[in-house]
Amino acid sequence: MKHPSQKIAREYFLAALPLFFLQVVFGLLASVKYVWGYDPLLNVAPFNIARTIHLNLLVFWLLLALMGATYYMVADELDTDIYSVRLARLQLWILLVSGVAAIIGYFFHWSFGMPFLEQPTLIKVAIVVAALIFLYNIAMTMFTNHHILTRTTATLMGGMVMLSVMFLFGIPFMGNLSTQYYFWWWVIHLWVEGAWELIAASLVAWSLIKLTGVSRRTVEGWVFAEVALVLLTGIIGTGHHYYWIGTPHYWLVWGAVFSAAEPVPIVMMLVDAVRDLLKARTLPIVNTLALAWLGASAFVHFMGAGVWGFGQTLPQINRWTHGTQITASHGHFAFWGAYGMLAIALMYGILPEISGRKPNGKQALSFAAFMTLNFSMIFMVMALLIAGIVQVYLQRVMGMDFLEVQNHLRVWFEVRLVAGCLFTVGSVLLLWDLFRLAARQPAAEAAAQPVPVPAA
């Protein structure tokens, strides 16, 4: 850590971690409902509320983790203090208070009712205010005393601005459902396959430069090429969501061609990460955990978003698979790989620098958390994939009734529930490990270590 103000990242991470755990708990609740014949909580916390909270917390904890990492990274890259720690803290509290209010409100039908964007308009306005504070704070940090940004920070800023602007399209109520969904995808798709990819690409690039010592020139050259391809394929690739929602037929062609190319930049990111980690690195590996999560993230991102996504992106296939458990399988796999694992990697990378603790990759606890979480996620994704394939056959091809098909899928929902329980265990291990890593170093331990020589 170069500057004291970077410590704010720790507060963001400590706020994000319990939310991640709550996300898992509500996911578990939703998956139990798939197995229960009759839901005893039907009138207290029905499936839609469990799912809403599961989805909201997903976005919420990831944003907090990525924002925390952004504050840390920008200050590190530009070697400057954060413009205002007070603003950063205010922004965190606005997000936390509005997030908790939204979650309580869902139990009382206080909902906008569009998936992922269920937050009532008042809460959305608070989120926009927090986003504006964030952008202002980051911009002031970037541009005070700096006229030239690094490519990674410029990409990060681009991603954050895109993220905020796209969110605006999810706010208005539209009478026409097709139009509402047309713009809903501007938030959902252009976030995960646009803005978030930019943010992820820049944070991965920064982590790789920092942890492996690969030359900035090499990494940054790739970042712009990757981002160019992400936007080239991702923007028009939105069309793969415009096949069946009342939009013109030509989207079947445009959506197919551009979204089929979407895995290309993801493959580039994977190749890039593998090369930097295995071949081009010049530093000895100190923080094994951060690099393990980073490398695994690149691979699971490729599998979940690239392979699973490509698998159903062509309209000939999507016509049958659209709106089935196959989408659930893809969603879990892609989000976990592209963003969940990345956020965890960033916490493993940044927390030891703030707390002064040693990033120790040989801890049995860290290893157990890594293995349990990843094994159970793959287990879950496979169960959902098989459930989805059987569902497509029985429901879409054979024409069996939806609920009857769900009965036939029960065994796979049971497998998914077991995987979910394992994932919950893994989350407890992860939280334990990261909280341990975040705890401030005891004075005695710190005194035993050599005092770092301050930079001139």
């Binding site: 799912r51 080239l232 923007i235 929602i245 016509r319 049958w320 069996m400």
Partner: protein, 219 residues
């Protein structure tokens, strides 16, 4: 290094311009494809209720949403207005067993708005989605088709397929006459005062006859 920056800016600009152009064209064409002239105040009220009760996080609509409950894009054309009205008023009556929808205690006007909304949704041109099933389930004899369409199998099983809440009907034809079955369809409580089976008296007479014929034939 400058070459990649130029490529980035150019790629983004070209994509964004094409995408915005297609958006303008799509929004224009979607007016006809979604029959936007038929979006009445009642349809909009239905959409508001649909969002207020967060229906979309259990059900999919246009294939998007929660995968826990049936897709409702074509509910109106598949189930018909009478079925939808009865279901929305008291979901448990139509599905006494298994996965259930909460009873939102909707007013008649709210049920009307939701039905109007679902009717409008069912008429959106979705490029042929969802596809028509190709399997045998659609070519079943009439009575069995009605048995499935009315979700009798939620409670009753035939040859091992269906629910277990109500009696197995595999050999119902050798136990009860067609007239008895017709009475049961029309007024279940006539045979058993505390029966939880809903009445299907509202079905067209031909469908009731077909269903009773089919069940009476299960020997």
């Amino acid at each position: 290094m400058h070459a990649t920056r130029t490529a980035l800016v150019t790629a983004t600009l070209i994509s964004a311009i094409i995408f915005l152009g297609m958006t303008a064209d799509s929004l224009r064409k979607m007016r006809a494809r979604t029959h936007s002239d038929q979006i009445s105040a009642e349809v909009i009220e239905g959409k508001r209720l649909w969002q207020h009760y967060d229906c979309n996080d259990c059900h999919t609509i246009l294939g998007i949403g929660g995968y826990y409950a049936p897709d409702v894009t074509k509910s109106y054309s598949i189930r018909g207005e009478a079925w939808l009205r009865q279901f929305l008023k008291d979901p448990a009556k139509m599905y006494p067993a298994g996965r259930q929808m909460p009873n939102f205690r909707l007013e008649d006007s709210q049920v009307g708005a939701l039905v109007a909304y679902l009717k409008w949704v069912s008429e959106i041109d979705t490029n042929g989605w969802p596809p028509a099933p190709q399997g045998v389930a659609r070519e079943e004899p009439g009575g069995h088709r009605i048995f499935l369409a009315q979700h009798c199998n939620t409670c009753h099983a035939i040859e091992g397929s269906g629910g277990t809440l109500a009696p197995d009907l595999t050999h119902i034809g050798s136990q009860k006459s067609k007239d008895w079955i017709l009475d049961q369809i029309n007024n279940p409580r006539g045979h058993k005062a505390d029966s939880i089976m809903p009445s299907f008296a509202q079905l067209p007479e031909t469908e009731k006859q077909e269903l009773a014929d089919y069940l009476a034939g299960l020997k």
